[in-house]
């Protein structure tokens, strides 16, 4: 059964999420039409290959390679357009690829169409394309780039889709232990300097420091932990 979805992807994670979508589609369908509008096909196929996705399953409609690289080598079953602005040419190329046996469509991305076309024209284009996908029982995912998406545009378009999914950025959890350690060390260092700062005054002995502000050394433990906690939050925010 055909399932047609609109996925709004955060800019930060855009490529990773698109690769994940491609992997899921490559696992589910024998042949996929991929509309590529945001990077050279060379760069996209390299990323797909790097993610161990079978390229043989993809038929590309590309709008970016031809204008930027006059010496590009054409991939089989792929259509190269001169630019991304003509909805008529784009529609014809997609329909041709779908008629050649593509079982599903990944449209990357509908946001690019809004650079050159009014909302109403993109709506008509999406409506017609979705209509023909439904008629032929094919599934599709249309992507939108979060920062380039206005709410009224999203509301207007969402009625044509079975599902609208707004993805959240993947939190970078790997950085947290590093931030914590850096913050802990910084807090300990700050506490130590404060602890021995009396020795910097005339008459003080620095090596080894003879006067200490803190009598209880446990402050290094809990003070360091508090500093690490605050520092981690600060580093995470910036």
């Amino acid at each position: 059964m055909s399932q047609i979805s609109l996925v709004v992807i955060p800019n930060k994670d855009y490529m990773n999420k698109v690769i994940r979508i491609s992997r899921q589609y490559a696992a589910a369908y024998s042949s996929i039409c991929y509309v590529n509008m945001n990077r050279t096909l060379d760069s996209l196929t390299t990323k797909l290959q790097y993610a161990n996705i079978d390229l043989q399953k993809f038929m590309f409609v590309d709008t970016i390679t031809r204008p930027t690289n006059p010496h590009f080598v054409e991939l089989p079953n792929s259509i190269y357009l001169d630019d991304a602005s003509s909805l008529t040419h784009l529609s014809a190329a997609i329909n041709k690829t779908l008629s050649q046996g593509a079982k599903a469509l990944i449209f990357d991305s509908i946001s690019t169409l809004f650079i050159y076309n009014e909302i109403r024209h993109v709506s008509v284009f999406a409506q017609n394309l979705i209509g023909s996908l439904r008629k032929s029982g094919k599934s599709a995912i249309f992507t939108m780039i979060e920062d380039e998406t206005k709410q009224d545009v999203l509301t207007g378009l969402s009625r044509y889709f079975d599902k609208v999914i707004q993805l959240k950025p993947t939190p970078n959890l790997a950085a947290i232990p590093v931030f914590f350690i850096i913050s802990y060390l910084a807090a300990i260092l700050a506490l130590y300097f404060f602890d021995i700062h009396w020795n910097f005054y005339p008459g003080g002995q620095l090596f080894p420091p003879e006067k200490h502000v803190f009598e209880d050394r446990s402050i290094y433990l809990w003070g360091g932990a508090i500093g690490a906690f605050i520092g981690t939050i600060f580093l995470k925010i910036i």
Partner: protein
């Protein structure tokens, strides 16, 4: 190249970038009737794989006016702007209030791009007494992070010289980058041209 020669080369290239972008911004200023502000040029000699980090808006959609460059030096040049800036620039020049880039606006941007690229490269070529040709510019839209990939197709080796200058037109929300990307196979030609000039 020893570190001192490298630093001098970078400084010289920065100056040349300043001259080129100065000429291009003067042309843009004449066209728009507005003052165009330029940041200090950034020069990076790095690998192709690492240049994404030097691009201003890697995670945003950009509009670029792109042209391959060849003859004594070979590479590519792009004037890259966020989408809103491209629409604003086209509106400013053609005195319209469009919200998207229609066919006429694309032509306007291509003419602007042609003028900027020509001014920039002419100044550079004239100063260094080099022959530099550029092809008819193309208008592209892409993710900022894919700019290096777009430009790389015109570069033979994996080490590149990236010369980037930010521009903005105050009070109009138009901002962007002039980016010249050359393969390091151009180093010899550039160094000898700079040396000749400094004699």
């Amino acid at each position: 190249m020893n570190p001192l020669t490298y630093m001098r080369f970078k400084d010289a290239l920065k100056e040349i970038g300043n001259m080129g972008s100065g000429k291009a911004s003067a042309a843009l200023s004449r066209l728009t009737g507005k003052t165009v502000m330029l940041d200090a040029p950034n020069i990076h000699i790095t690998s192709l794989a690492r240049i994404t980090r030097y691009i201003s808006a890697p995670k945003k959609l950009i509009v670029g006016i792109f042209s391959p460059v060849d003859d004594h030096i070979s590479g590519a040049m792009i004037t890259a702007m966020p989408v809103e800036s491209a629409v604003n620039l086209s509106n400013l020049v053609s005195k319209k209030k469009n919200k998207v880039l229609k066919t006429k606006d694309k032509e306007t941007l291509l003419k602007i791009g042609q003028l900027l690229i020509k001014s920039y490269l002419q100044e550079m070529a004239h100063f260094l007494k080099l022959k530099v040709r550029h092809s008819r510019p193309k208008l592209i839209s892409a993710f900022g992070s894919s700019i290096p990939g777009l430009m790389a197709s015109n570069i033979k080796n994996k080490e590149v010289i990236l010369l980037k200058i930010r521009f903005n037109i105050p009070t109009t929300e138009i901002k962007g980058d002039f980016i010249l990307l050359l393969g390091t196979d151009n180093l010899d030609n550039l160094v000898s041209a700079i040396k000749d000039k400094l004699k």
